[in-house]
Amino acid sequence: MYKYSDFDEAFVRERNAQFRAQVTRRIDGSLTEDEFRPLRLMNGLYLQLHAYMLRVAVPYGTLSARQMRQLAMIADRWDKGYGHFTTRQNIQYNWPKLTDVPDMLDALGEVEMHAIQTSGNTIRNVTADHFAGAAADEIEDPRPTAELIRQWSTDHPEFQFLPRKFKIGVTGSPNDRAVTKAHDIGLRIVRNASGETGYEVIVGGGLGRTPMVGQVIRPFLPKPDLLPYLGAVISTYNLMGRRDNKYKARIKITVFENGIEKFRDAVEARFEQTRREFSGVNPKILAEIEQSFAPPAFRNAPDGNFDAARDADPVFRAWTETNLTAHRAPGYAIVTVSLKAHGATPGDATSDQMRLLADLADRYGHGELRISHEQNVVLPHVHKSDLPALHAALKTEALATANIGLVSDIIACPGMDYCALATARSIPVAQEIATHFRAIGLEEEIGALKIKISGCINACGHHHIGHIGILGLDRAGVENYQITLGGDHTETLTLGERAGPGFAYDQVVPALERLLRTYIDLRTDRNETFLDAYRRLGAEPFKTALYPAEATRDAA
């Protein structure tokens, strides 16, 4: 784990002290709301529908057991005993009081955490593959890169007032689990012909009201050039990006309106200068960062009773089939702990669950936890011989749901249950889908499926890139849900296509049942996933399933 330096610690402490004074001045009337709003947003504090919301950064989704325990303590002491893990690998507290927030920030500082740059038109928390440092398919751990960018971008004087927010995602694996093509800048660690590692730099991706797939601006960037190149891209955007219209201010619009060639030329011209001026990263700091992500001391031991436990216990077996991913070290597995128990709120964890996860990370997982953008918790390094005991312990806090990658493993934004921007609810739609498909016994039958739900066009719930995407809108004062089909969140990122008119709130689940029963009827066999079948057959049979009345009318 990366440890704060004295500089980091002093910086966070000073920022917290400044914010405490700002809160005092807001309450005594010295600051108006217009003056205070940018200050609170710089510290991750939003005012939502029913209460304030504090968004805390979990850099590249990595947490220590100690940090997770502190998140649980904060949830109990100043919130309502739970937290919500987000699609940007952060945690949000939904019920803080303004007067308590400075104390919450100090408590976060005690465990090297903060809420800086989790909002505002700055470089946001850098996200990464949640299996970083563990995945069998990984070329290189993306977290030293993400940490380097975090240090460089935090309080970067040139990039505090960008045209709009700016998100960077990094993956070190060819199988992209970090959605790099939907980021302002996506970085993929790649190997060139001579075996050196560097970055494929992708620019101008994003979801939201104008979804766009990122484009490669540099197929191979040597590692030492990373920071001056990022500086060149972002300063080019800072000048070329539009400030006249909030909805056209993201870099994806800058790239789209100018064209990738013109934008690339401008970046390269700027890069000549930034590279010349760049003195290089202090090799000592770089070595320290890399050292802090060194893999733990994996033990070389037999699998113990892992296979016997699988044979003996069908519940354990089912869990191992859905919730484990191949680890690079022999005898180890990556465990994804589902925060999607059927009927639960996607991404929510109670303080008891957080404490249990912290204890289990200490006992079985080298003290490490990850938050995935799919709103689950990952124990990246668990020896297979420990899995039966781990599974038994997870059951005590309703954390053993065997549904990773299935119909109930849904991404859902907070929607109109919490968010001031939302146009409809997301959470209860996710809850009903999860409980319904389990109740009718189709979850295992349907197999691999990504449903992603957003409660407004800003697309925090990634609906464009769900195999089935659901977008909640307000149509003449009534909640209405549009369905998109065929989205893909991986290295072959694809935006889903809108199937047709939206559905009323209580018609979403019946529509999905028609859709998925049609898929089961049409697939070649169980190995053909919904997405594969959609790609083979096209949208038509699925549209017919969604809109049977129209299909009948057309045929008449």
Partner: protein, 102 residues
């Protein structure tokens, strides 16, 4: 002919807790929509909103929301405003939590 004015309430969030509040006819901030002043005149609504805007150390983000007369006082019209009178639908938190305790 001008369209009939849809009655309004003045609503905002409390500065400290962030909880949803409504302006009453006797110039208090209540947490109960039914206690809000139902404003049926457009000019009066603007005056009341102006007044709310001056109370910047008590509330944040005051605006006018559509409402209608109900048997127990004003009722919200839009679903967003209905949610604001209760709290989220996934947990009994927010106003509904207080209501359950009474």
């Amino acid at each position: 002919m001008s369209r009939a004015y849809t009655p309004k309430v003045v609503t905002a969030n409390a500065l400290i807790e962030g909880d949803v509040v409504y302006l009453t006819a006797d110039d208090r901030w209540t947490r109960d929509h039914a206690e809000a002043e139902l404003i049926e005149d457009e000019a009066h609504a603007q005056l009341r909103l102006l007044k709310a805007g001056h109370q910047r150390n008590i509330v944040v983000g005051a605006y006018l929301a559509d409402a209608r007369r109900g048997p127990n006082g004003p009722e919200p019209i839009h679903f967003r405003e209905a949610f604001r009178t209760r709290g989220p639908s996934n947990y009994a938190h927010g106003k509904q939590e207080g209501a359950a305790r009474v």
